[in-house]
């Protein structure tokens, strides 16, 4: 019995110890688990913090971008208005210079020696040239204003351009020929397309070789995602080292006496093509002819696709 008591007391002590150990183990597990959960929580909080920082960064970037876009639009509008007002107001003094020089010359017609008459001609020529420059600058600045993109029949645009050039073509000589291949339908601004064809064909007529009848050919070919147009002539050609410069406003290869004009045409063409997401370039050989090529994205795809005769 004693032994039994002793034994059971020992057993009880053993039991308590193992209980305590188990409890301690559980407690240790619990502490570990708590620590794990805490670190997980901290990690989650960190991620949330990071996320919040990232979100705020994105928001800030978005606001900055929005402000920049608004600023750009505002400065564009301001620039356009400035351009218009400046061009318009700059015409006035020039009109005065030209008109009063002429009036002075008219009043003193008999008293002017030949040299003075030449000076008068220079003043008038200077003033009228400046007027042309301002007008062309205004024309250039206006490209893209009020544009309407829609399904456009390129052959109608070309027809309209050629109709506008009827007199120029006629005056270039009876044997001049302007022909064209099939033209596509695509998304474009009709009046810009007319102006583009008109400028290019008008250049081809203007820079013709006097020794041969002008032959001008307009073609369009379908590439993978765009249409490539070409206006080819058999004219005087261009030294290719100057080819890129010609697309800048008022850059010319000839004097105004040789070929009149301000040199805005190809700059306008480049701006029009850029509005249509395309490229424009020149291929030429002096004395043989020039081909001007430009591309326009084919955003109508297969919906209307295909060349229409």
């Amino acid at each position: 019995m004693n032994r039994g008591i002793a034994s059971s007391a020992a057993d009880a002590a053993q039991n308590r110890r193992s209980h305590t150990k188990a409890m301690l183990n559980i407690l240790e597990d619990f502490v570990q688990e708590k620590a794990r959960l805490e670190s997980l929580q901290e990690a989650t909080l960190n991620i949330l913090d990071d996320f919040d920082v990232a979100r705020k960064n994105v928001e800030r970037a978005y606001l900055q971008l929005q402000a920049a876009a608004e600023e750009l639009e505002r400065s564009n509008t301001e620039l356009e208005q400035f351009f218009y007002v400046a061009s318009h107001d700059m015409q006035e003094p020039l009109r005065m210079v030209a008109n009063y020089t002429e009036l002075l010359a008219r009043r003193h017609k008999d008293k002017l020696d030949p040299e003075s008459e030449k000076f008068v001609a220079y003043i008038i020529d200077g003033a009228t040239h400046m007027q042309e420059l301002i007008k062309d600058l205004l024309l250039y600045a206006r490209v893209g204003k009020n544009q309407i993109f829609g399904p456009t029949d390129c052959s109608a645009a070309l027809r309209s351009a050629l109709a506008n050039l009827k007199i120029a073509i006629k005056e270039s000589g009876g044997d001049s020929k302007v022909t064209h291949g099939p033209m596509p339908h695509l998304t474009a601004d009709f009046s810009q397309l007319v102006s583009l064809f008109q400028n290019l064909v008008s250049n081809a007529i203007k820079y013709r070789r006097k020794s041969v009848p002008a032959a001008i050919r307009i073609e369009a070919k379908r590439l993978r995602k765009e249409w490539e147009f070409s206006v080819s002539d058999n004219g005087i050609g261009i030294d290719m080292q100057y080819a890129n410069r010609l697309f800048l406003p008022f850059q010319r290869l000839h004097t105004r006496l040789e070929y009149p004009g301000t040199g805005i045409g190809l700059a306008i063409c480049k701006k029009i093509v850029a509005q249509h997401g395309g490229r424009i370039w020149i291929e030429s050989e002096p004395g043989k002819g020039t081909t001007c090529r430009f591309t326009i994205a084919d955003n109508l795809g297969s919906r209307e696709g295909g060349a229409i005769q």
Binding site: D89, E92, R95, M96, A98, E102, L103, T128
Partner: protein, 145 residues
């Protein structure tokens, strides 16, 4: 309507003395004998037309030539006020400007009593301008505006 013996009265609303003198120079040859009055801004033009202040004795003009770019009240405002006044709206009016006609102006040009002419860039073009004004004026008289 118009007494054939008296010269027609023309009100020129123009701030640029250079333009006024060019008009004077060229109106010497204008067919109906004429007398020019000049208002140098929009406010003065409307005072003249309403015979206010120093213009109390002024006769209504038979023709108005209106520049658009004017100090104080500009040409657009003057045009709008003229067209809203029953006694003034029938006076033939030439808009005389160096810029292209815009939409604001085009709606007025639909009226037979209004025409739009560009300021000549060259002296020789004044003859054509005067012809156009003469034709416009005679036409307005026929229409009884």
């Amino acid at each position: 309507m118009i007494d054939d013996d008296r010269p027609i009265g023309i009100l020129i609303v123009e701030d640029n003395p250079g333009d006024v003198d060019l008009l004077r120079e060229n109106f010497k040859d204008f067919k109906p004998a004429n007398k020019l009055h000049v208002a140098k801004d929009g406010v003065e033009a409307l005072q003249y037309l309403r015979r206010q202040g120093s213009f109390s004795e002024a006769a209504l003009p038979d023709l108005i030539i209106l520049d658009l770019n004017l100090p104080r009240k500009n040409g657009y405002e003057v045009l709008a006020e003229i067209k809203n006044a029953s006694d003034l709206k029938r006076i033939p009016l030439v808009i005389f400007s160096s810029s292209q006609a815009d939409e604001n102006i085009m709606k007025f040009c639909a009226s037979p009593a209004v025409c739009y002419l560009n300021k000549p860039e060259r002296l020789d073009d004044f003859a054509k301008l005067l012809q156009a004004i003469e034709a416009f004026w005679i036409n307005s008289m026929k229409l009884g505006t």
